[in-house]
């Protein structure tokens, strides 16, 4: 299939929105992070494949904090700048497990459909 080299391939924004909380919880399960660090990590680890409007990260973080899945704390690290680090909570870990399972099921289900439809597109 021909792909215009001048157009950067981007993922469907709606798909990304649905996975944002899963990605955030997953990253925070490794260690506490601040907003920019989360965005930069996703960008780096996906080679820029997952790109979204950076600002939309914060409403999601705040919503998750309101839901008790994460906790935000202002912390000053060695650079001397105060940043709001988000820590995953026990409830957040439970939610992450559920979301990972759901994601796996969703991927399997979608893949099954795609495999059967392969070559017909």
């Amino acid at each position: 299939m021909y792909r215009n080299p001048l157009v950067t391939p981007r993922m469907d924004t709606e798909l990304l929105k649905g996975t944002l909380s899963l990605l955030i919880l997953s990253l925070l399960s490794r260690k506490a992070m601040y907003g920019y660090e989360i965005a930069a990590t996703v960008h780096r680890e996906t080679d820029g494949a997952l790109t979204w409007r950076e600002g939309s990260l914060y409403p999601s973080l705040h919503k998750m904090e309101q839901g008790g899945l994460i906790v935000g704390k202002w912390e000053e690290k060695e650079t001397g700048r105060k940043r709001r680090y988000y820590h995953i909570t026990k409830k957040g870990r439970g939610a992450l497990t559920e979301k990972v399972e759901s994601w796996g099921e969703l991927c399997q289900a979608v893949n099954r459909i795609l495999e059967k439809s392969d070559g017909q597109a």
Partner: protein, 343 residues
């Protein structure tokens, strides 16, 4: 960094909840943007370009605000203030709008004043002068109150208004000259000032003339009341005489004389009923009867006199007596009222 703070203002101003929350959100977004800008600077962009790129990647302020408001709610006051500021920004720039509006408003005031002056000159002043000629407004009474200048003012007003065409032509000429000759950057303001001055002067004339007419009329009303009362008492005396003479003529069966008296009584009664100011003048301040009741009495008396006229034509003594009795029944309250006034 003004650009950054301006952006944060737009995003955070209307977020609901406590002030500390807005402060935290603002600080958090600022840190993110500073980090992003620093990264772009290391990539070789200038400070301004780096910040512009960071802001573009972060998202439009309206979208960010909407998303944060969906999470934290929004402040109603902030939304109202935002709308008001937007409106102010837009309208403050529209200088032509303000000057056009002000000019239109002043022109409307001038037109209204001219209309009022024309109305006063065409309809009110002639009526007022007619009342003076009829003696219902006594200049002596106005003079006694020390406001004789009011009548002089009305006279002057009338003299000036008589030459209205010339005044209008003069104003149009002055206006044309102004538009033709004056070349100044302040021309709009000068036009507004001139129109405003004309509007104030014309409204002063309207108010002064209206006040003069009203005050003069109010001062002269007692004289009018006295005249109406005198007229009413005269009419009542004439009616009494005619009705008494009618009774005597009927007793003598002198139908010709009876006809003359009943017709005269009917005419006098009609004059009494038709003069609108007379009936109210027949009621004293402490009397319980209303003007409507007294008018009904007069109407009833007029009807019985019509019956009497018909009975005289038919030379029917019995019907005439009955009509006269009924006439007295309706007419007595009017007469008693008049007697009270005499006292």
């Amino acid at each position: 960094m003004d650009k950054l703070e301006q952006y944060l203002d737009q995003v955070c101003r209307s977020i609901g909840g406590p002030r500390s929350l807005r402060r935290h959100v603002r600080q958090e977004l600022r840190e993110h943007l500073l980090d992003a800008a620093a990264k772009h600077r290391t990539g070789g962009l200038s400070e301004d370009e780096a910040l512009a790129r960071a802001l573009a990647e972060f998202g439009k302020p309206e979208e960010m605000r909407t998303e944060l408001e969906a999470t934290h709610g929004h402040r109603v006051m902030a939304v109202v203030i935002d709308k008001a500021l937007d409106w102010k920004e837009k309208t403050m720039r529209a200088k032509w709008l303000w000057t056009t509006w002000a000019t239109a408003a002043i022109v409307v005031v001038i037109a209204l004043a001219v209309l009022l002056i024309t109305g006063i000159e065409l309809f009110i002043v002639p009526k007022f002068n007619q009342l003076m000629r009829d003696g219902l407004i006594d200049p002596a009474i106005i003079d006694e109150q020390g406001v004789s200048w009011m009548l002089s003012w009305l006279n002057d007003f009338h003299q000036v208004a008589e030459h209205a065409t010339w005044w209008v032509l003069l104003a149009a000429g002055a206006w044309g000259l102004f538009e033709w000759r004056v070349r100044s950057e302040n021309k709009t303001l000068m036009r507004l000032s001139a129109l405003g001055t004309v509007a104030v002067a014309l409204m002063a004339v309207v108010w002064l003339t209206a006040a003069t007419l009203l005050i003069s009329f109010c001062l002269a009303v007692p004289a009018k009341g006295r005249l109406a009362r005198i007229f009413a008492l005269e009419q009542i005396a004439k009616i009494d005489v005619s009705v008494d003479a009618l009774g005597e003529a009927v007793a003598k069966k002198d139908w010709q004389t009876a006809g003359d008296h009943v017709n005269r009584a009917s005419q006098e009664m009609q004059r009494l009923a038709e003069e609108s100011a007379v009936i109210p003048a027949l009621i004293t301040r402490n009397e319980p009867a209303t003007v409507e009741k007294r008018r009904a009495d007069v109407k009833g008396a007029r009807e019985t006199l019509s019956e009497a006229q018909q009975a005289v034509v038919n030379q029917d003594s019995g019907r005439i007596q009955t009509a006269i009795e009924r006439f007295r029944k309706s007419y007595d309250p009017v007469r008693k009222g008049a007697k009270r006034l005499e006292r």
